[in-house]
Assembly symmetry: C2
Homo-oligomer: 448 residues x 2
């Protein structure tokens, strides 16, 4: 993958690479549907007012304007101007409010679409990229159990992908906020913002930030950093937090919730779902569980799947819609799979069989052979012209098409495996390729 | 479907409607792959220079600008400014040129993506919509046979959709241009533009236009209109054109090409692929075969699938890439299927089975039952809380989930078909729903 995108931040795949992406998308979709998530898509376009609804955001938004129009471009000043969505959560919240009368709550949906952010492109960060989101949203209330279930669904989905082992790190905002409150740090959002920088700047600098920006005493900073240092593969984080001796009602609630998630998940996927009390998820508006996910050995890539619980994903008058969800960074994952050659497709085309032409007049008959094969699910092309057989075989070879079919004038047929050279009689009504040749396979690269 | 889009021209579907769209997309993809077309996607964003490359276009382009930026919005004046693509042909041509060294020619690809046009929304015309394109592109040359093959592929693809009968109308620019030249009308593009208005304004007005704009004599206008009146379901159009007594080399070439398409297609799909010598495809830059498709009984919807042959889809220095392709208007089709209730999904969620909870502690055991069912491809949800069974059954009923599963404390299980009320013992390791209940079905509405 020496190619670079012709527009920085807007990656495009070659056909063989696209097969890897399709495999990832199909696998996610299949898992989500097996768990009863319904597909929706929202328009790529929202009003600027909708996108900036929650105030301060750290996403760079692309505004739209019609070239053949004299109107000014989209601007923050005009809330009705159009812009491209920067995630799938804000559009989903709008969709839920608009269609509440047509949806059955709790409503489980998955949504796989492109989103756009005008940020400086860098490794793992594109300007146009695909997200795959699952959320459950309730009307008024939403059982906490969904926070557990979504962790299990996403572990199952990610485990089915051709990627290295991963860690789903879970924390709980109530736990963190209750703890900070309990030690006397009342600007809990401010503490979270500082803690969020832990991996980047280290504990000493975070202690300084807590002091400079929030007036934290050395003891308070120390306690906050001690909390953030707790990482356990089981529910033992509970006693470790208790050992810090902080009393707070919200802290207890958060401890109980996180214990449920880690307890259930460590039974199903031990070592994969871990409690990590450093997870803050910066500027996002979560109110309970927060998730993020790193690929082991690729931690610098950043989180490949993040999310959490919102007390109020959306509101409609007095009506509140709480939600919990996770978003898989498909493009980030696929870029890494392709860039680091973690997996590859066995060929570049869906075609399993090329029907060769002995002469140009036999094209209609060859089409009939192809139709017979296709009717049984075997992807088949017919040669476009009766070049020498060697050239037709080369056409197949260059694309990785494993079989070339020869219809003979006496009505008999032969099929050649062009890898082994074996050529055998075959009947278009019953012949089938080996299962591993039927469609392109995505094979993990064992060496990496 | 009384709902209207919250942004005019940007349709969104409810989950049950989205299943219709997914069915259409999956069916197209499956057919394209069975015929050996490889999937690609291009970025949604092109430079303005690339989009306006061919000069005059009738598409309204959306320019992009970053809201957090002081730069001016995209404008025609700045060829490097970014804008959203308005079709998939222009981006594909760019992709071919950029990646020519990595592709095997002739290159067959399908591409299913959203495109944007800032036009006035109206019936059958949205501002954001999905197209599904297939093209074959050659390096230097491309056998004419692909023009025949693509007609056959698209007939197979459209025939698999839950839509009324359709007519794929085919014409040939060489035939038309040769004929106009043969009768002394040398501004063949001008004649095509007038003929293109035939359905809208009628033959008398077209005759006036030909006179006013191109100086055509009454005899010339009459001959051009006679040509455009020829529509045949077989190759008899050839003799009807010859009867008009016009001699031209290009006309002969076009007659021969169109005869090949109609001859092969009428053998496979009689009455579906027809010669229609009025088809002009206005401002598009085709050089041979042109296709468009109407739904019988829904002609006012406009073409649901159009395309044609380009002598030069793209160029790279001296290298020329001829192509032939067709584009299905997925959103136009799906809007009509939903709006006219031509077909509908049998339920709104993928879920086939809801596992009920007798008490809250049995949730982990219920998850194990669900996992067993899912491992055999049966989409399964687990109730989130142990409400009364009546409420849990109502949860399933409101979503169209056909089966509710009851794990008993003695280790036995029962499953209830909530439509019939039948409840029978079942084993999670072997039970399966009837095939028609496994996934939501898209059923054509017989009454329409």
């Amino acid at each position: 993958m020496a190619r670079t995108a012709s527009l920085s931040g807007f990656p495009e795949w070659l056909p063989q690479e696209r097969l890897v992406e399709l495999h990832v998308l199909d696998t996610l979709r299949k898992t989500f549907e097996l768990h009863g998530f319904a597909s929706i898509e929202t328009r790529a376009v929202e009003t600027v007012g909708q996108l900036l609804r929650k105030g301060e955001i750290d996403k760079e938004v692309y505004g739209l304007s019609r070239l053949q129009d004299d109107e000014d471009a989209a601007s923050k000043a005009d809330a009705n101007a159009l812009a491209l969505h920067f995630d799938l959560t804000v559009p989903f919240a709008r969709y839920v409010v608009e269609n509440a009368g047509y949806l059955a709550f709790p409503f489980r949906r998955y949504q796989i679409q492109k989103v756009w952010r005008g940020e400086r492109p860098q490794e793992g960060r594109a300007r146009e990229f695909t997200q795959a989101d699952i959320d459950v949203v309730g009307d008024g209330s939403l059982p906490f159990r969904y926070d557990v279930e979504l962790a299990l669904v996403i572990v199952e989905a990610l485990s089915a992908l051709p990627i290295p082992p991963f860690r789903l790190r879970v924390n709980n905002r109530k736990l963190a906020e209750g703890f900070y409150r309990g030690i006397g740090l009342t600007d809990t959002a401010g503490v979270l913002r500082s803690i969020d920088k832990l991996e980047k700047v280290g504990p000493e600098r975070v202690a300084e930030l807590l002091h400079e920006e929030l007036g934290a005493t050395p003891e308070q900073a120390k306690a906050a950093l001690e909390l953030a240092s707790i990482r356990t593969e089981d529910t033992s984080f509970v006693s470790r937090v208790r050992d810090l001796g902080v009393q707070d009602e919200l802290l207890e609630e958060g401890l109980d919730e996180l214990e449920q998630v880690i307890g259930a998940a460590s039974a199903v996927a031990p070592g994969t779902v871990v409690a990590d009390l450093s997870i803050a998820r910066g500027l996002d508006y979560y109110t309970g569980t927060v998730y993020e996910t790193v690929l082991v050995g690729h931690e610098h890539l950043g989180s490949i799947c993040s999310g959490g619980r919102y007390d109020s994903l959306a509101t409609k008058g007095n009506r509140k819609f709480p939600g919990v969800g996770l978003s898989v960074g498909v493009t980030r994952l696929v870029s890494r799979i392709i860039g680091a050659e973690l997996a590859a497709a066995t060929r570049s085309v869906p075609t399993a069989v090329l029907v060769a032409l002995a002469d140009d007049d036999s094209w209609p008959a060859a089409q009939q052979v192809a139709a017979q094969l296709r009717s049984r699910g075997i992807a088949t092309e017919v040669a476009a012209s009766a070049e020498k057989f060697g050239k037709q075989i080369k056409y197949a070879d260059r694309r990785g098409i494993p079989f070339v079919w020869f219809p003979h004038h006496d009505g008999s047929h032969e099929v050649k495996d062009i890898r082994s050279g074996d050529q055998v009689p075959a009947d278009p009504a019953s012949w089938a390729p080996p299962a591993e040749d039927l469609v392109p396979q995505i094979r993990p690269n064992q060496g990496r």
